[in-house]
Amino acid sequence: MSFYTVIKTELSARKYLICALEELKKKGEITNYVANERKDTVEVDRDGDIINISKEKAGNYQLGGDNRVVNAFSNRLKQMYAYESIKDNLPLDFEISSETETAGEIQIVLKG
């Protein structure tokens, strides 16, 4: 049998959160973001809409702001976070063979 597994993404590592925000900025999906390392918070400017990201007690980052804006952005941020995390954690004997994005889904084929 081939394997099949499903993983829900939680925003737990600051490193990948910042990588994801940087990628979204490059793609023009956010205007800017300002990270406060001491408070462990990030303020995201999305075309004038402000989203505040802070760490909750359980250890995951949570998003605050206008619900309408936050819900859509939260999903996209998790998608980019997962992408950055996967790329950074690939074992040395795996490499990306192809990468496509269709209908809002990122598909990656790995050689190993």
Binding site: F3, Y4, I7, T9, A82, L110, K111
Partner: protein, 189 residues
């Protein structure tokens, strides 16, 4: 036609590493083989997951235009022989190719009346239990090297088995990650 109900673990609409070309993959729920190091322990229990009429699985709209066939994985597909037969027959009726994984051997399947009927609808059968001590290292669609490829029709040949990769990841719009394929991947997310 009154179609048998299938207990399904998951359905992947498009995969490029579960057999030749782009394939819709159906993972059956339930297996009692207990192969050491099995990729899919979550598929072993015989609890009800998603019960679906076999014939409705391939209804219009479920099949992406570039899908050339279905792959049936699991779980153990032959523990639901009636549903498996109906699913494979509906795939054939749509012109889709069929690949089935099983922990049984072809000889065992031929000896069972219900199982043997299913073989008539299969283009490519990958048989035999998973053996963790003999992992497949090449980009072939099988978990271990003891598993055999049986070309039951002329639709495929050994040259079709070279996969573009060993594993495949899908990151959906809400950040959910699905992994499929062969070999082990990081569980880093």
């Amino acid at each position: 036609m009154d179609s048998a109900l299938l207990n399904i673990h998951a359905i992947l609409p498009r995969s490029r590493v579960n057999g030749p070309g782009v394939r819709l993959v159906v993972f059956f729920q339930g297996c009692k083989r207990g192969c050491k190091g099995c990729f899919n322990p979550d598929t072993h229990a015989f609890e009800e997951k998603d019960l679906l009429p076999a014939a409705s699985l391939l209804e219009e709209g479920r099949i992406a235009p570039d899908v050339e066939g279905i792959t049936v994985s699991g779980g153990e597909p032959f523990l639901q022989p009636r549903g498996l037969r109906d699913l494979l027959a509906s795939a054939r009726a749509l012109g889709l190719s069929t690949l089935v994984y099983t922990g049984f051997t072809l000889e065992e399947l031929r000896a069972g009346p219900s199982e043997a009927v299913c073989l008539d609808f299969i283009d490519l059968l990958v048989d035999g239990p998973y053996m963790a001590e003999s992992p497949e290292e090449k980009p072939l669609p099988r978990g271990s090297t003891n598993q055999r490829f049986h070309f039951l029709t002329a639709r495929y040949s050994p040259g079709d088995l070279l996969m573009p990769g060993r594993s495949e990841l899908f990151i959906s719009g809400d950040g959910t990650v699905r992994e499929t394929g062969f070999g082990s991947l990081t569980r880093a997310v």
